[in-house]
Amino acid sequence: METLEQIRARLLLAYPAAQITFVTNPGPAAEHSLLIEAAHAVEIARWLRDDPALRLDYCSNATGVDWPDKTITDVTTTTEPDPAGGPAKTVEIKTTRLQPGYLEAIYHLYSIALKQGPVVIRLRTANRTDAVTLPSLTPTWRSCDFQEREIFDLYGIIFTGHPDLRRLLMWDEFKDHPMRKDYVEPDDYEWEPTAHGAVLERAKPHQSAAAAPAPKMGGTP
């Protein structure tokens, strides 16, 4: 199979207006991916599926990632010569900038026909709050159906063009998205007999207010 750089070069030939970024994976697996602009995602997905050299006819996995807002501190080091003639002084200047967060949908594509893959593509939303729309790739790969519903359920990405976008795991009345980093669980830590770590922190307010009534377990008397 051709490398991801070659796929990207051919994609840019086919869609010169599209913005396709090569995302490296620094880990030992080195499973690099292509970040694809949401506006061209549907056409590019169809091209990846139908291209005779690739024929990525199967999407084995679609998943989401939440990237919250991140404060990044840049340190620039400059050396100032000492006017008195001593050794040069090193000055560190720290600047902080806010990298806005976004939500990501990741698709792992394989070709059953040509027995090759995976090719990993990513789509990113503009932010995490109001612009969380991405085009659905379910019309291209049917196996994305439930997985995009799961991403919608747990991360809150709205897939336009999805044939049946409903919650998959949680109930319809549920309002939150539990896999987001800022999800706050309901406070039901009233009985944690073996609490430790983060659970202990949540259980402490209940334990201090232990003027509780006598134990009343269920069952027949």
């Binding site: 539990p178 509780a212 269920g218 069952g219």
Partner: protein, 220 residues
Amino acid sequence: MSDPVASPTPFPAAGNISDAEREDLRRHGILMTSLEELHNWGRSNSIWPLQFGLACCAIEMIAAATARFDIARFGAEIFRPSPRQADLMIVSGTVTKKMAPQVIRLWNQMPEPKYCIAMGACAISGGPFKQGYNVLKGIDRFIPVDIYIPGCPPRPEALLNGLIQLQKQIKAEQLTGPNAARFTRPEEPSEFPIPAYGAHDLVPTKNDAVWAPPTPEAKA
């Protein structure tokens, strides 16, 4: 929960006749019993469980029904597909918050006398998924549980042991008097409120009439 084993008269005989005298009569071919004992004997040896499973514990429950373990030896092999025909609900597995209202609805549809076994760590407390966003922290927050079987999952032998414990409890139940069994008392609830799906959690998150957090033991 009462301990059926510690009960002073596990098999109350009629009148003032002692168990030794009764056994003596039995050797002469005279069987003496009471209606209560006969009733409990029949009930405890034909406990029909409700046929449903929630997670991997259900696989062990199925294994308990196969020839190797053979739950039929205890008269509990007739898994009923309808709650109207079932005596026992084996909550076998993780109860998700999405599934909890349906489990409680099934319990409400079972006729009295009915019993509940919480099988496995998940049904007891949420188990390894306790802090999960969609996991109920024990079915006893909504319905009364008679027997708790720990394990993850419990082996079929453990389920059979739980069933034997339930049989002991049923055999010790009294039908009349001040200590009569729960199902004979009309003031005890048979149906329990079904929680609604809320915006963040089940509403309510627990039934306060059934469950309250146990008071932590004071350290010596």
